[in-house]
Amino acid sequence: MAEKYSIRLGGTGGQGIIKGAMVLAEAAIIDGKNATQTQVYGPESRGGATKAEVNISNERILFPLVSSPNIVLCLSIGAWQTFTKDMPPGSTLILDSSLENGPALPEGVTVYRFPMIKMAYEDLGNILSTNIVAVGVLNGLMKLVSSDAAERSIAIGFKKTFVDGNIKAYELGYQAAREYLQAAK
């Protein structure tokens, strides 16, 4: 299988999208796949629109960046404005429900909206979990990695005190996405 997924997470500096991308990439590796993870460095990643990218493939990944994303997830309007222009037909955009009046999207892009920031803030009482709720939503919709690997990856990526909370965040996002797909059937 030569399937390659290119995923871009966009948001505002401080929303934890780099950590989210690392959790996703590490989970793919735990599943026995190849993964690369890159991100924007510099002042724009400290408060402005910033992105972190992941490639997942069963084969060796040569070009390590994302040039044509299959999946883009945006947690801020700035990310929507900046990081969706190169989306090809057939790709998927996941937006936080709070985002409105973004730019027009390239043709043939499927759009999902989930209240990821609200879920973290209201259901978990911790806005810092938004990134992992987002990973859960993304994986619930796209099934990129096994949930077992995602949870192991969270256990590797966080200090002990934060593991349980983040696994909860992952499951919340994952379930929301699965339920949405079930209902849509």
């Binding site: 690392m22 990439a25 590796i29 190849n34 993964a35 690369t36 040569l62 070009f63 960046l65």
Partner: protein, 376 residues
């Protein structure tokens, strides 16, 4: 390490240094190399190593030269502006034949340039940044696993040839996180410097057939003098033409005469291809993807990927270029390595530079476009 992990290039460099037996790091943090300093500051206190944050890059390289004289495998990490500051003492290490490793995570320059964006602009500075006739070893890995393994190679070459070795990462490889799994069969043997043999007369800079004198640790009992001045076999200043000439020839020949062993590269479809790509570091990944895409279209492209940048194996490069319709060198500078390839290639083979200096990586599509153009 048995399970594959997600590891960053700079982190792999730090882990590789420890695997090579390095016990001393002195440096001054600079983007995009800072993670190496961070890793060493976290790892060394647990492993009996020494980490020192120095006041600047000149002091950093001075400290590792001193540590190496005292017997430690020592290294530093920096980027363009810091690498510029280190140049004089790189020459001092070459002159005094002290093994050290300098990691240069290349960012776009000149000067402060683009601190967070990638470049391969230090290729010629690695070769000729310090003054005078000297040889140098420089390596350029293309993946996170290779960064780990080639950090070990860098220390091995430094110890074996008593020379400064430059490990040229670029920002993309330094900051890239990807799958990392090192199994015991991948590990190179660890080489340590030759020490003087007990009971034999010790001549510190003896010009033997092997060209590489033994190196005792300071304080071990063998006394010798270390100077950046041109010196005789005893280590003291000499301006006698025959001594100067034999010394300068030896410190160059010990590397250049071994370029076949030191120059390592991977080849893909090199012999039977019409168009040959030559690429190193992160850009070799774009080149390999471009090669695969073009071959699927039936265009016969090959790739030569040097892991060793210096010394060049001129005969090998010349042979690889022979008979090609074109040789294309994509690199993130204005053609610094392309000129070297041009020098080695037969006169009737067009050598085409594909330069890029805007801070963005060369995309496979850019290479594919140029291949189609040269075949028109």
């Amino acid at each position: 390490m048995v399970e594959a992990r997600l590891v960053q290039g700079n982190e792999a460099c730090a882990l590789g240094a420890i695997a090579a037996g390095a016990t001393f790091y002195a440096g001054y943090p600079i983007t995009p190399s800072t993670e190496i300093a961070e890793q060493m500051s976290a790892l060394y206190p647990k492993k009996d190593g020494k980490f020192i944050q120095m006041e600047d890059e000149i002091a950093s390289i001075g400290a590792i030269i001193g540590a190496s004289c005292a017997g430690a495998k020592a290294f530093t990490a920096t980027s363009g502006p810091g690498f510029s500051l280190m140049q004089e003492l790189i020459g001092y290490a070459a002159m005094t034949e002290v093994p050290i490793v300098i990691v240069d995570v290349m960012r776009a320059g000149p000067s402060t340039g683009l601190p967070t964006l990638s470049s391969q602009g230090d290729i010629q500075q690695a070769r000729w940044g310090t003054h005078g006739d000297h040889s140098i070893i420089a390596l350029a890995p293309a993946s996170v696993e290779e960064t780990y393994l080639m950090t070990i190679d860098a220390f091995n070459f430094a110890e074996k040839y008593r020379t400064p070795v430059i490990l040229l990462l670029d920002e993309i490889i330094g900051h890239l996180k990807e799958r990392f799994l090192i199994t015991p069969d991948m590990m190179p043997p660890i080489i340590n410097r030759q020490k003087p043999q007990a009971g034999q007369e010790f001549v510190p800079y003896k010009n033997t057939q092997e060209l590489i004198p033994a190196l005792p640790d300071f304080g071990e009992g063998s006394r010798y003098h270390v100077t950046g001045l041109t010196h005789n076999e005893q280590g003291f200043y000499s301006s006698k033409p025959e001594i100067v000439e034999s010394f300068i020839n030896r410190i160059n020949a010990k590397i250049e005469d071994n370029s076949e062993e030191i120059f390592r590269c991977n080849g893909y479809n090199v012999e039977d291809c019409e168009v040959l790509l030559i690429a190193y570091g992160s850009i070799s990944r774009s080149a390999e993807e471009a090669m695969n895409n073009l071959r699927r279209e039936g265009i016969n492209v090959g790739l030569l990927r040097p892991q060793t940048i210096w010394p060049l194996n001129e005969a090998l490069i010349g042979d690889a270029c022979c008979g090609k319709k074109a040789v294309i060198i994509p690199e993130m500078n204005l053609g610094q390595y392309a000129r070297e390839i041009e020098r080695c290639a037969p006169d009737d083979v067009p050598v085409v530079s594909l330069p890029k200096v805007d801070g963005t990586m060369i995309f496979p599509s850019e290479i594919e476009e140029l291949v189609r153009e040269v075949l028109k």
